[in-house]
Symmetry: C2
Subunit: 340 residues, 2 copies
């Protein structure tokens, strides 16, 4: 008999908020962070679902995150928005900056939002998807902790440095992708380590700079980027755009600031938003329809658009709820005083 727990998405929301409040987050932060976990669980992204409650609680307990930070929104230039997250989780900072970013993108055609001094532990797709749902084209990037070696090197400089992109599709879910510029997600290597399984020898290097199949050695050494020197170039671009360009930390600076506490990366994020009506005016709908022709040409040959698996999981979850493994559910409940 399975001890898995079937939950509605509202159950997940209530649980996540309770855990995050118990961990010490302010109500505003708990609500914002809970929504990304609901979204992850709903879309079948297990590693970004309620499992992350453990990660978030750990970051609060270690003092890495400011649990009641109040994000401060400013306008450093006419088409730029900055939110100083005050050391809190990124979600609330994004939420507070999002309306002004959208307003500026519509007013100027293109705009950018910098989140500064925020703690990252979630995927970027909820953010670009939200902007695309509002009819905007969005690109988001963020560094993390220095875990990834540049192509041609063996010492960590870059973070897993994801790039996310959202494109509005009238009448349907947006075209969204969000991937790490590292060869694989760090969590994937962690799963191999826990399972005692070797990793392919092209995932990373040990601390001595030698290729290795030992997952723990890669975690202590350096991961590789995806796509050779091209992926490495993109990883550098992410560092620059969401680090020095917005006055925030590189992945090396972030892991140095963590000082061995093992908390989530702290630093910045850059989000660029473009209004299709800016270049296209009244012809926007006609040109967005041409994008649909391209999507159809991809799907007609049996290739999958990014995020389609996520959207399929979403439909199922909305209808049937989600299933959380019993052990994980107990581990999460243990974070709420009086629940165990």
């Amino acid at each position: 008999m399975s001890d898995d727990v079937r939950m509605t998405l509202d159950d997940v929301r209530v649980l996540a908020r309770a855990v995050l409040r118990a961990a010490g987050l302010s109500a505003a932060h708990a609500d914002a962070v809970a929504e990304t976990m609901v979204a992850g669980e709903r879309d079948g992204c297990r590693s970004h679902g309620v499992y992350r409650l453990l990660v978030a609680a750990n970051s609060v307990a270690k003092g890495v995150v400011a649990p009641d930070a109040v994000p401060v929104v400013s306008e450093p230039a006419r088409a730029l928005v900055r939110v100083d997250g005050g050391g809190g989780f990124a979600q609330l900072a994004f939420e507070r900056g999002r309306p002004l970013l959208a307003e500026k993108a519509r007013a100027y055609g293109i705009a950018a939002l910098a989140l500064n001094n925020v703690v990252h532990f979630a995927a970027l797709w909820p953010e670009v998807e939200a902007l695309a749902e509002d009819g905007l084209v969005a690109i988001a990037v963020t560094p993390s902790h220095a875990w990834v070696a540049p192509a041609g090197g063996m010492q960590p400089v870059f973070g897993t440095n994801p790039i996310a992109f959202g494109w509005p599709r009238p009448g349907g879910h947006p075209f969204v992708f969000d991937f790490a510029t590292s060869a694989v997600a760090r969590g994937e290597i962690e799963l191999h380590r826990r399972a005692g399984k070797p990793v392919p020898d092209d995932w990373g290097y040990d601390a001595g700079g030698q290729p290795t199949t030992d997952a723990a050695a890669v975690l202590d050494g350096a991961m590789r980027t995806f796509g050779g020197h091209k992926g490495s170039a993109l990883a550098a671009m992410v560092e620059l755009l969401a680090g020095p360009l917005i006055g925030d930390m590189t992945s090396r600076e972030s892991i140095d600031a963590d000082a061995g506490r093992g908390g989530s990366p702290i630093g910045g994020e850059l989000i660029i938003a473009i209004d299709p009506a800016g270049f296209l005016g009244d012809a926007a709908a006609e040109h967005l329809a041409r994008a649909e022709v391209m999507f159809a040409a991809i799907e007609a040959q049996g290739a999958r658009l990014p995020s389609q698996r996520r959207y399929a999981a979403r439909e199922r979850s909305l209808a049937e709820g989600v299933v959380v493994p019993g052990a994980l559910h107990r581990e999460i409940l243990a974070l709420i005083p009086g629940e165990v």
Copy 2:
């Protein structure tokens, strides 16, 4: 005895202008296009040097390019610039739009330039490098002709869809990369075909959708993207940003419009420029210096920054000139009436 021809960069410029004028380009177009060939030859990018004179002349002869198009600059939104290239080569359109793009990036913090209805046959790095030399951060993308299959498919949808990035480095050459999102450059496959050499079986598919080592079959079939589904997602992003978003053609539409003439891709290009002073104000220099720390961490482990080979070649070419193979030189001279 070698019949290679040693030329100064001024010799190259004079030759390129003469060929392009003889091909029928207006003086403004000939000058703008010649500069990119001088830059390619100077930087050791043989495939983007004077060799491209043959490509450009072919596009003019085939009627693919408007040789005397006058680019028209407009401002569709406050932070957006559009240049309608009128079917001419992209270089002059970029040149005409560049000052206003830079002005808007400084005025608003971020701005974008769309080149519409232009013929592309050159690399994007000269453009992002020029913007970075002016102190701006720049991203440029363009579709091409549908030659590349999406990950999971085997039929061409995407072009080689390059992504270029430029970052200003005070006191030094900018950090610049420019790469195709296809697994390799199309010219690389063409070189294998000419040499009768097989290509690796992961470069592409034949027209029936089967992996093949036959270079000609890949050219008739479909190339792969770099980096699996991640590279494929980026290729789609390039199509969307520099196609429908700016009201211009996708790679499929471009190759359909070519109608078998074998001309260079015609369509659009998007360039985003960000002023570091926008987010950073007076602290820009201090934060750009932190980027230098990251570059040093990459180079200290023996890894190379993108474009370093190009900059090294540039130093040599400025000092010693360049060497053009005799056969190529003769082929180029044959394009000038009265020269042979």
